[in-house]
């Protein structure tokens, strides 16, 4: 059977704090020395004896990869800068803002993505429930008007019921906490944008 001392040695190994006492025990106890040797023989074996993938594995993966759409790294800050550049050039309104008597602001969200099958919007203003906030497609542009109270909200589009995508026309973005980005809308500040239109651009998914 295993000496208790050997368990202690292994525990100390893991913590990186073995001492002279432990080493002396290994020198004196033949059984522990043998087991310790077997254990490290096994560990060396793990490093040195790896199985190979079957031939053609890489090609099979790459065949599948080429069937997929290339992932596109969207430069969000660049998008924001471009949006700002258009802001004072084009008239109209990507974000159509109308303030009603109760203080709510109607905001029109748009996403130019003709190839999408469905687009919804989820954010702080609707409890991140995309099921009741579907955008409607017209001429390849998806739009929805949502009434929100003044404030700062995070939001994102949900494309084809599964793909989360920040609004490329938003002015600010934050990490979503799930490896992606959320867009930020600041409703008070948007009052300043009333009457202006941002350029609509096609965004790849």
């Amino acid at each position: 059977m295993t000496c208790e001392k050997l368990k202690d040695i292994i525990s100390r190994d893991e913590a990186g704090r073995n001492d002279r006492d432990c080493l002396l025990h290994l020198r004196e106890c033949e059984k522990c020395r043998e087991l310790y040797g077997k254990l490290f023989g096994l560990i060396d074996n793990l490093k040195d004896n790896k199985e190979k993938v079957s031939s053609g594995f890489t090609d099979r993966v790459m065949d599948k990869v080429t069937e997929l759409k290339a992932p596109v790294n969207y430069n969000y800050w660049k998008a924001a800068t471009v949006s700002l550049a258009f802001l004072f050039i084009v008239t109209g309104g990507l974000l159509v803002i109308e303030k009603n008597k109760s203080g709510e602001v109607a905001v029109e969200f748009s996403l130019a993505m003709p190839e999408a099958e469905s687009v919804s919007i989820a954010g702080d203003f609707n409890g991140w429930d995309a099921s009741n906030a579907k955008l409607v497609k017209k001429n390849g542009v998806w739009t929805a008007t949502i009434k929100v109270k003044p404030g700062r909200y995070q939001y994102a589009f949900v494309v084809n019921e599964g793909k989360w995508l920040p609004d490329p026309n938003a002015l600010k973005f934050v990490d979503s906490g799930f490896g992606g980005k959320n867009s930020i809308i600041e409703v008070d500040k948007l009052k300043l944008l009333q009457g202006f239109k941002l350029s609509l651009r096609r965004v790849k998914i």
Partner: protein, 202 residues
């Protein structure tokens, strides 16, 4: 693979050159496959999951963060996929662990693989070295044991991959080793004839 080379490949893929993904697959396919093989104990499942892991990485490459190592990221995806599959498909079936009792062989069931018991025993893989004993460990132990000793990940990195605190990783490694020590005392590997549990003298 050098970090700079890795980042260059990732940027190429993200700029539309899907072919650059091959470099990443070639660099990590063996490591990912061996982890999955250790976890599933089945080549077919391991390759399917490895392929699925790379495709998932490709589809989500725009979410990859440069400050993380791609190796950690792909191993995390593979580990999660495998565990999800274990839960979803309940691939917990049995292979025999042969024991000698009263001169006869008896089978002791261990949760390892879904392949045919007879085939597994005949499989030469079982007769090679003590390292196969790792596969008799519970999944959670053999995963961290493999990541630590076959791949050389730090406790912190293993914690990131397995979503365990580094302290738990350390505990699992300790338990894995003590379990292996127990098995060393009880097991004999007879070349060409499989694994045997030796009965203790009473």
């Amino acid at each position: 693979m050098e970090k700079s080379e890795e980042l260059r490949a990732i940027k190429l893929v993200l700029s539309g050159d899907s072919g650059a993904f091959r470099l990443l697959v070639e660099s990590y396919q063996e490591g990912v496959f061996n982890l999955l093989l250790r976890m599933t104990k089945n080549r077919h499942d391991a390759e399917d999951l490895a392929q699925e892991a790379f495709l998932k990485a490709f589809k989500n490459l725009h979410q990859y963060k440069e400050e993380l190592s791609f190796k950690n990221w792909i191993f995390t995806i593979a580990s999660n996929l495998c565990k999800n599959k274990f839960i979803r498909d309940k691939i917990i079936s049995f292979i025999p662990f042969i024991s000698k009792k009263d001169g006869k062989d008896i089978e002791i069931e261990l949760s390892i693989s879904n392949t045919s018991p007879v085939k597994e025993v005949e499989d030469k893989e079982w007769n090679i070295t003590f390292s196969k004993l790792v596969e008799t460990l519970p999944l959670k132990y053999r995963e961290v044991f493999h990541l630590r000793y076959a791949e050389g990940f730090s406790y912190t990195e293993i914690g990131q991959i397995t979503a365990l605190p580094a302290g738990t990783v350390q505990t699992y490694l300790y338990r894995a080793k003590t379990e292996l020590l127990k098995r060393f005392s009880k097991v004999e590997i007879i070349n060409g004839d499989g694994l045997y549990i030796l009965q203790e003298d009473k």
